[in-house]
Subunit: 494 residues, 2 copies
């Protein structure tokens, strides 16, 4: 047992270091490396991944994990959870036939550029044969990895959000379908119009300056992380002491950088506020994709789109953009940043319509994996369902079934976490408001009290517990989608 | 033999990948990572270094290298050289007592912050005990690593510039002392004065734009490398396809970024123009420090400070900085960028006085390692010698013996390569002009012909040959310092 523990800790030290390496390399590729350098460097990345893989699949490591798993009652709570997760991963890896896995890795790396081409050329048929093989593999995966508790699509869902199965998601999406679809149709009946002032040119330098101001408002510790520019905003972290975000600035869409900054800083706070004792372990970072998204959405929507927030900070924004905003009242500004409308693209959707985009994907994935629909039927199925939920039909597949990259990577089961995150944020918001008046707390000019609550209820645990356990600890309740739907209907009824 | 070769190639693949990792990590730390992130990440860096070290010192790897070394006649030329170098390194590593090496690593990592403090506080005594131990270790090192051919200071010199011994350097520095010292004294008798226009504010954004123009003039392939900002300009490369430079922009010292850009792009071209077949081996990159510096200095001085170059590009610069330069003639500009003066700091010295700064350090290192002077005598010795060579005395140690960081790292034997690089650049310039008229070639608006010559004579070899071999191949002659001194005296007599 002690020998197994020593070996585990020694190997973990290397695994963690290679995680850091992966973090730095992908940061570099996303934000610095020149186009042709990326191609050349990818050979080295492959070797590094291989080194990582060899550490994780080292038979001695497997043995150590198994020994620790068998004696897990003797481990402290954090390590016990880490070993449980590691054990499951090791077992799952062994269940997948090596040749199938290799062939699949090749398939997805080839599928990506084809997908990009298909999307750009609005040619689903180009991508179809690849997607068929990917779905085929995912179906086989559900067989290889199934357990007494998890079968079919549940196996895939569980990879992205442990313990969230179709039973839980169905309740959520059924509620959305019943209550939100008719509500959204009503609210979005009249097409919205972007006001002229919002389309004016806002200096990129000043946008950056305002985002730096926002990061201070959100109490992001700038000595432990930077903000940079990339094509698509993202957050990337290693431990609590190196947490980075990127942003993108559009001169004619000033609010894009503001809400990306708030969203990404929400992710970043989750990482920065983990308990420091988790650094150097495999139990740091966020508990799951959904939990991570719940934090970014919380700050973006509950805080960043709230009147209480802008009552404090709108003057600053107005001062920085006098020419554009001097004659725009807080009311007009609030209306603009909370506009809802029917649109085709998930990533550009507003707070209210967003979950319906996800619901559509969930239904499709469920049916695809169950074999109830086939890949060749996707474009038609997508468009019909879209018409049903949104009242509009995508004019082409680029704006329809081809818009997201996820399926080309084989990420089936991933999408639902996006909507789950928003729903969890509403549940947290409900309970936070029981402890203190959130709107009132924002009058202090920063989000310190909000941060503190989230730190103690969610962030500090890192990934040392399952996301459903954390939600239970934070709110005293299981996941309950009603808070979310109530929140949306109340907000957009006003 | 075949087994040894297979193992070597397999291990090299990993070593090269970890070299890439080191390249990305240090780039990240120099240009992105936040202050406290660097501290936290350094733990991971230590683990990665350890992984690298374990690959290099793996007994099976040592055995493979030894087998290949014994059969080196069967290897192709490039691999033979690589194995010779690897074999020497492996043997040298084994000659250093492990406990001494560990203690020394700790010593130098502690010495650095003390050095910084000593320099900032002008307090040599603070640094003295550390430097004494460092010198002590370097003296021991010369004993451990000595061979029939290399003894004393030569052992250290050889670590930075293979095959360059005191015999070669003495001839060089003696010539400098005899011919250049009196010449410099005469030329720098009258103090120079920076013209008013050169002290005006030059927009940083426009400086950047002009540097991008210069990189195009120098035919740097921007699809395979970027330029970024850092505190001190540097070049960092991995293979031919990922070569990066940094620059620093001072609003009131516009020429600083221009010559840093030309200098670093010189280094970068050396890396970009290596033979592609050397990618993925340990024979890419520059042949030595001196050889690398010869390329950067070549572009900076022979090209970048030449009238022929600015006859083509000065109009562009003038157009970009109309307000500051419209009334400044090409003659005035040329005079300004070739100003020479007596100064205390090596890194800020001009082309003419620079080698004398290096000469001073060479003499001191030689005497220190030989035990002819002691660390405690350094400040006085430095100041006396400085007065002798430059006709001025440093007012304090911060501007004297404490100005350079190298000794705190234990880098004895490094300095001479700086002057060697300049001298080699003059030798290459001499022979290049025999093949074509360099000044004339610049009229085409770019440095393509210069690049091509250097590629075929120097760059393509990477580090697959020793630097003296490459110089011999490039010029048909051994290192000859006369070209350099002739060049300087001719240029600055005008």
């Amino acid at each position: 047992m002690q020998k197994a523990l020593d070996f585990y800790l020694q190997q973990r030290r290397k695994i963690v270091a290679l995680n850091y390496v992966g973090f730095v390399i992908s940061w570099d590729m996303e934000t610095d490396a020149a186009e042709n350098s990326i191609m050349a460097d990818s050979e080295q990345v492959a070797v590094v991944s291989e080194m990582s893989y060899l550490l994780m699949t080292d038979p001695e490591f497997e043995k150590a994990v198994a020994t620790l798993y068998d004696n897990k009652e003797q481990l402290d709570e954090v390590l016990r959870h880490e070993i449980e997760v590691a054990y499951t991963e090791v077992q799952n890896t062994k269940k997948i036939p090596q040749d199938e896995y290799t062939a699949y890795s090749e398939l997805t790396s080839k599928a990506y550029p084809v997908y990009v081409k298909a999307k750009n050329e609005n040619n689903f048929e180009l991508f179809r044969p690849y997607l068929e093989k990917i779905v085929d593999y995912c179906r086989k995966q559900t067989k290889w990895l199934q357990t007494d508790d998890l079968k079919g699509y549940d196996v895939l869902l569980n990879q992205y959000e442990p313990h969230y199965t179709q039973a839980k998601y169905d309740r959520f999406f059924n509620a959305l379908r019943e209550r939100l679809v008719p509500f959204v149709k009503k609210v979005t009946e009249k097409p919205s119009k972007t006001p002229k002032w919002a389309k004016r040119e806002f200096s990129v330098d000043k946008q950056k300056e305002f985002c730096e101001y926002l990061r201070d408002v959100m109490c992001f510790d700038k000595s432990r992380g930077i903000m940079k520019v990339s094509e698509h905003p993202f957050t990337s972290g290693f431990g609590t002491d190196d947490v980075r975000i990127t942003n993108h600035y559009y001169p004619d869409k000033f609010d894009s950088s503001i809400f990306s900054c708030i969203h990404e800083t929400g992710h970043a706070l989750y990482e920065q506020q983990c308990d420091e004792s988790l650094n150097g372990t495999l139990s740091g970072g966020g508990a799951s994709l959904g939990m991570h998204e719940s934090q970014s959405r919380f700050y973006e929507n509950m805080i960043g789109r709230s009147r209480a927030f802008w009552e404090v900070h709108y003057t600053k924004l107005q001062e920085m953009f006098k020419e554009q905003l001097l004659k725009v009242s807080l009311d007009e500004f609030m209306e603009y940043i909370n506009t809802v409308e029917r649109s085709f693209i998930r990533t550009e959707a507003d707070e209210l319509t967003y979950p319906l985009h996800v619901m559509l994907r969930y239904e499709i994935e469920q049916k695809l994996i169950a074999g109830e629909i086939q890949v060749k039927d996707l474009p038609e199925y997508w468009n019909n369902k879209f018409e049903e939920y949104f009242g509009i039909t995508p004019p082409n597949d680029t704006l329809g079934v081809l818009q997201d990259v996820h399926w080309s990577y084989g990420n089936f089961g991933y999408f639902p976490t996006y909507a789950l995150g928003s729903a969890i944020s509403a549940q947290l918001y409900h309970y936070m408001n029981k402890d203190f008046n959130v709107a009132e707390s924002l009058k202090k000019g920063n989000t310190a009290q909000v941060n503190e609550w989230l730190k103690n209820r969610v962030h500090k645990y890192g990934s040392s517990k399952y996301p459903d356990e954390i939600l239970q600890l934070a709110t005293g309740e299981d996941f309950n989608p009603d808070y979310y739907i109530d929140y949306l209907i109340e907000k957009y009824t006003k």
